[in-house]
């Protein structure tokens, strides 16, 4: 079996597990009832206010900023850079390339460095700060190693050992159309791709679930209006008072 086929199978399996697992997890969050009102107050008293609070949480990490400026700095740099890097990668999956993907290309190219720097900052804290070292389990280190390796191999291909990007794009476009094209047998590329597939595979069963989880966190997404509107879900939905 050729490499192209092996990687095609790997990515199809990874995609199914990633999307299926995530859909399963998200639906379990959505289906699990929140029996009580537990927003961490002061909390917004309107739906709009809650949306604004959530937007602040996921774009500027408001709570983390209150908490610890170093974690905030490294974490925010990593996440923001990751978004740029992911968006930049759209160009390998579409023809023609959307104009805004071209637009961010110059930033996306350097964001790879910021991403790895942020990750190394977070990793350093796991080693240096006694409290964070105490709470880290092997998987926490492995997750950082995985992300650093993905970023590192990507930077290697961009700045040191170029891969045949035209052939790679043809391969990726082929995957999207269920037609397997030749895959460049470039070791750095093969490692990069294998690690990305690994990340997709473990996403729905690991702490990476914080990405969907934050949107379902009752302390952040509930409106502070328990006196005005009677809340009842799950266990509490069965309470009946006929006045």
């Amino acid at each position: 079996m050729s490499l192209a086929v092996v990687y095609a199978v790997l990515f199809y399996v990874a995609a199914v597990i990633f999307l299926g697992g995530l859909a399963w997890k998200i639906s379990s969050y959505a289906r699990t009832p929140a029996p009580l009102k537990i927003p961490t107050t002061p909390a917004p008293t309107t739906r709009f206010g809650v949306v604004a609070r959530m937007v602040r949480e996921v774009t500027v990490f408001e709570s983390l900023f209150k908490s610890n400026k170093w974690i905030w700095l490294f974490g925010w740099i990593f996440h923001f850079a990751l978004v740029l890097v992911l968006l930049r990668h759209f160009r390998y999956f579409q023809e023609p390339v959307w104009f805004w993907v071209d637009l961010i290309q110059p930033f996306g190219k350097y964001a790879g460095f910021a991403m790895v720097a942020g990750l190394l900052g977070l990793w350093a804290r796991r080693v240096v700060v006694d409290r964070v070292r105490y709470i880290s389990s092997p998987s926490d280190h492995l997750m950082l190693a995985l992300l650093v390796a993905i970023g590192g191999t990507g930077l290697l291909m961009k700045y040191v050992a170029h891969t045949d990007i035209v052939a790679l794009k043809a391969y990726m476009l082929g995957l999207l159309r269920f037609s397997i094209q030749p895959l460049p047998a470039d070791p750095v590329l093969l490692i990069h791709l294998a690690l990305v597939a690994t990340l997709m595979l473990i996403f729905p069963i690991s702490k990476l679930l914080h990405a969907p989880g934050v949107f379902f966190s009752p302390t952040r997404n509930q409106i502070d209006n328990p006196r005005e509107i009677r809340h009842a879900q799950g266990w509490t939905a069965q309470i009946r008072h006929d006045a």
């Binding site: 961490t40 909390a43 949480e57 974490g75 473990i202 502070d224």
Partner: protein, 503 residues
């Protein structure tokens, strides 16, 4: 669990984050509930064979019934943001008092039995790779120690990027322990007393009436005014639900006298209920929705029987959380009350409103001997609200205080409002068998207090929570302050109010 010797933490120039001192609080465990009290709450009397499986099953049920629990257990990335936020960690240095480490005591069992990765890796002996672990006696011991070193104050949840609230996790852990027969004596005995007698202190109706009559005489002697303390008066406008400590504990009772004077001057008829003579609801502390609902139901029953139009809640932190956030859900709807007032209403909201409308005559100079600071109680600060605007729970009590005193000073901003530190005795830990924990857990609050005592000569620590008041009167002396430095906000109102000046 014999009395242990311990040192009161030393206070420095500013709050320090301690180094890790592994296991220094492992010995701290409350007494275990006796079978009769376990059974009164619907739990098994004691641990029986097979408890491990039942614990795992119960945990699964709780996760299925609580989105918060499911999301919180999955989402933690171990970033470390919460590690220096818990007063029990700051006061003890025990790493298992870091919120994330405390959560992990339960999370490791959840991961082992209720996640795909844990099930697979657990079978091949690699559970440790992802921080998963078997449920066994050692784990239960850790749970019993450290889930009784969390006062459910929610300070960690303010700082967590995902809003993970350790209170939810410790409530779940306590519910699991109750459900396998290992409950905590203090909380469970108290809940049993509420069912049997109507309040936490086990104060029966005749004793309550007697106490209140005594108070009427005291106030009459002091002011010459007939201020009433009515019980079970049908058709009164307001039902006052207050922590039973207000009936005779110091300094709580000064608060109760303050409420009565406010009602008196406002000319609003009110009553206590001997059936629901308790605002506290320890069902929340033990994470039992069932018990919390049953205790809350008593309020509805009393309000209906007495035919009142409004319900006002006295100074009590967790009780206000339950009243404000949960009563409508657990015992509502309260559509039989007057819709012109919030149901329920906090006594601070009630008094604040009267002050705004000019219905009270307050002379702040009556409190000129006091230089006052205010301790935001955790459940009021981070789990409820007062007034119409977010943050009203910080503004209204301070405005009531400032209307009643001339000298008010806030503690450092990182220790008040939503950043407030727990008194160290909340969450069902206000028991003598946890004295070491209570003294050490008070350290961050005592540090902030020390600063305003030195800079502003503060000599009165005002609070609106029965637990805070009891806890501080016990621990203040450990830190070199007189025990009567702690007082009720309505104790200040009581001093300032000029009776007989309004009709």
């Amino acid at each position: 669990m014999a009395k242990t010797e311990f040192d009161t933490p030393e206070l420095g120039e500013f709050q320090l984050t301690p180094k890790l001192h592994d296991g220094v609080m492992a010995h701290s465990q409350p007494y275990i509930a006796k079978p009769e009290f376990q059974e009164a709450l619907g739990f098994p009397g004691e641990l029986e064979d097979g408890w491990e499986d039942r614990a795992v099953t119960r945990l699964g049920e709780l996760v299925d019934g609580s989105r918060a629990l499911r999301v919180f257990l999955d989402s933690c990335v171990k970033c470390g943001a919460c590690t220096d936020k818990c007063h029990y960690y700051l006061g003890t240095g025990d790493p298992l008092n870091m919120p994330v480490a405390r959560q992990d005591l339960l999370r490791k069992v959840y991961r082992r039995y209720h996640t795909p990765a844990g099930k697979v890796l657990g079978k091949i002996g690699l559970a440790g790779l992802i921080g998963a672990a078997e449920m066994n006696k050692e784990v239960l011991d850790q749970w019993y120690s450290y889930f009784h070193q969390c006062s459910q104050c929610r300070r960690c949840s303010v700082f967590c990027p995902y809003g993970i609230d350790t209170a939810e996790i410790s409530m779940a852990a306590r519910e699991v322990m109750d459900s396998i027969g290992q409950g905590q004596k203090y909380c469970n005995e108290i809940i049993a007393k509420v069912y049997k007698i109507g309040n936490n202190l086990g104060l029966p109706e005749p004793a309550l009436v007697d106490t209140l009559e005594g108070l009427e005489e005291d106030v009459k002697d002091e002011t010459g005014v007939d201020v009433k303390f009515p019980v079970d008066v049908k058709g009164a406008d307001v039902l006052l639900i207050t922590p039973s400590a207000d009936f005779f504990a110091e300094p709580h009772i000064d608060g109760l006298i303050g409420y009565a004077k406010v009602f008196h001057q406002a000319g609003i008829s009110w009553t206590l209920s001997s059936y629901a003579s308790e605002a506290a609801n320890f069902g929340m502390f033990i994470g039992s929705l069932d018990n919390m609902q049953k205790v809350a139901e008593r309020i509805r029953t009393a309000a209906l029987e007495l035919g009142v139009k409004r319900i006002v809640v006295g100074e009590c932190g967790h009780a206000w959380r339950v009243a404000y956030s949960f009563w409508n859900t657990l015992a509502g709807p309260f559509d039989f009350l007057d819709p012109n007032y919030p149901a329920p209403q906090h006594i601070i909201e009630f008094t604040h409103d009267l002050i705004q409308r000019g219905a009270l005559t307050l002379d702040p100079s009556a409190n000129d001997e006091y230089r006052v600071t205010f301790h935001d109680s955790c459940n009021v600060a981070r789990a409820s609200r007062m007034g119409n605007r977010p943050g009203g729970q910080f503004v209204l009590p301070r405005e009531v205080i400032k209307s009643s005193v001339n000298h008010f000073f806030d503690m450092a901003p990182e220790t008040i409002h939503e950043n407030t530190f727990c008194c160290g005795g909340g969450g069902g830990l206000l028991t003598d068998d946890l004295m070491e924990l209570r003294v050490k857990g008070a350290q961050p609050r005592m540090q902030a207090l020390k600063d305003v005592v030195e800079q502003n000569q503060v000599n009165y620590l005002a609070a609106i929570c029965a637990i805070c008041k009891s806890q501080f009167s016990k621990v203040l002396p450990y830190y070199g302050h007189p025990m009567d430095m702690i007082g009720s906000v309505h104790g200040l109102v009581s001093n300032a109010i000029q009776l007989g000046t309004k009709q």
